[in-house]
């Protein structure tokens, strides 16, 4: 299934956001996520289904002004 992660196309076997993060190797990284423009809290990542073409954002802390 093709999804778009942080703006780039990816192939994934995962069916949930949780699974996708594991598959990509994020492990315990301190990240927050959104699916198709909607925030997905960490606790709900395992309940969220991915569909083909899903747009996922995975972000972490950075310097900011």
């Amino acid at each position: 299934m093709r999804v778009i992660v942080n703006g780039n196309e990816e192939q994934t076997e995962a069916r949930t956001l949780d699974g996708l993060l594991r598959e990509l190797g994020y492990g315990t990284a301190k990240v927050a996520t959104a699916l198709n423009g909607q925030f997905v809290p960490a606790a709900e990542r395992s309940r969220v289904q991915l569909d083909t073409g899903a747009k996922i954002e995975i972000v972490s802390p950075r310097q900011g002004g």
Binding site: A32, Q38, G65
Partner: protein, 274 residues
């Protein structure tokens, strides 16, 4: 010189959404030559609040975590921003992600209208502020000196306003000091923080002399030749402007007036006859 940050008694200390804030200089964390210099700047300026952001992270990057660990060690309040968001929707989602990751209800709300000026899109700003307050956020809106917009932000539940001094990154200081002074008078009880455009310590001092409650800046320190020294300079300037404001600035005059008294000047009569 004693420690100026300590000269305000407790009842005069700045409170932002109920949290006391010792330093009236809020610091952005971007663009520093190195993390070490950023850390030095934070310490030298003794800041209480720093802004941070969220950016996309690759799977094995872990740069976010390292940055976050450094920030946590400083023991300061963290104010996540929504920099780069061009719509209320993006800003809201970004704020939600930030709340989870930084574990704070504070958010510096930026909804940008265009790339030339990076000025707030005041419509998107009010829309996003309204929704975020509804969701329990404590919103620090990056806004303009527009009084009507300010009123709508307060009506939406914001308890702080952050008008720009000049466009982000220009370092031009207060582009419209008269309007900012009017804004201060119009919202006497709301904490007002000058955010963006401040380029020199004298600009920060002027903002405080006009009665603003604090100054938030980033580029002027990060891009200085010596960022930690510049952080210290701005901390002193903010304290100077604040102290000067509270000590009662003299009225300016059009005509000169002697500082040394005229009475008793030697040769006064002789001079007359010359």
């Amino acid at each position: 010189m004693q420690d100026l940050t300590r000269t305000e008694s407790d009842d005069q200390q700045l409170c932002l959404y109920g949290r006391p804030v010792a330093s009236r200089l809020l610091l952005g964390t971007a663009q520093y030559p190195s993390p070490a210099l950023l850390g030095d700047a934070v310490r030298r300026a003794q800041v209480s609040v720093v802004t941070v952001s969220l950016r996309r992270e690759g799977a094995r990057e872990r740069s976010g975590e390292r940055f976050w660990q450094m920030v946590a060690d400083w023991g300061v309040h963290v104010l996540p921003n929504t920099a780069g968001c061009r719509s209320a929707k993006d800003a809201i989602t970004t704020a939600q992600m930030a709340r989870e990751i930084f574990d704070t209800r504070w958010v510096k709300l930026e909804v940008i209208a265009n790339d030339d000026t990076l000025q707030p899109d005041v419509f998107g700003l009010v829309e996003a502020a309204t929704e975020l307050v509804r969701q329990g956020f404590e919103v620090f809106p990056y806004t303009t000196e527009d009084l009507g917009v300010g009123e709508r932000l307060l009506a939406a539940g914001c308890e702080v306003l952050m008008p720009w001094g000049a466009p982000i990154g220009t370092g031009r200081g207060l582009a419209n000091p008269h309007a900012l002074k009017t804004m201060r008078g119009y919202f006497p009880d709301t904490p007002l923080i000058i955010d963006a455009g401040v380029g020199a310590p004298s600009h920060a001092a002027l903002a405080m002399e006009l009665g603003f409650d604090a100054v938030l800046l980033n580029t002027a320190i990060a891009k200085a030749g010596d960022p930690p020294a510049m952080a210290e300079a701005f901390a002193a300037a903010v304290a100077a402007g604040r102290t000067g404001y509270r000590a009662g600035l003299m009225e300016t005059r059009d005509m000169a007036t002697p500082s040394t008294p005229v009475a008793g000047t030697p040769f006064f009569d002789l001079s007359d006859g010359q």
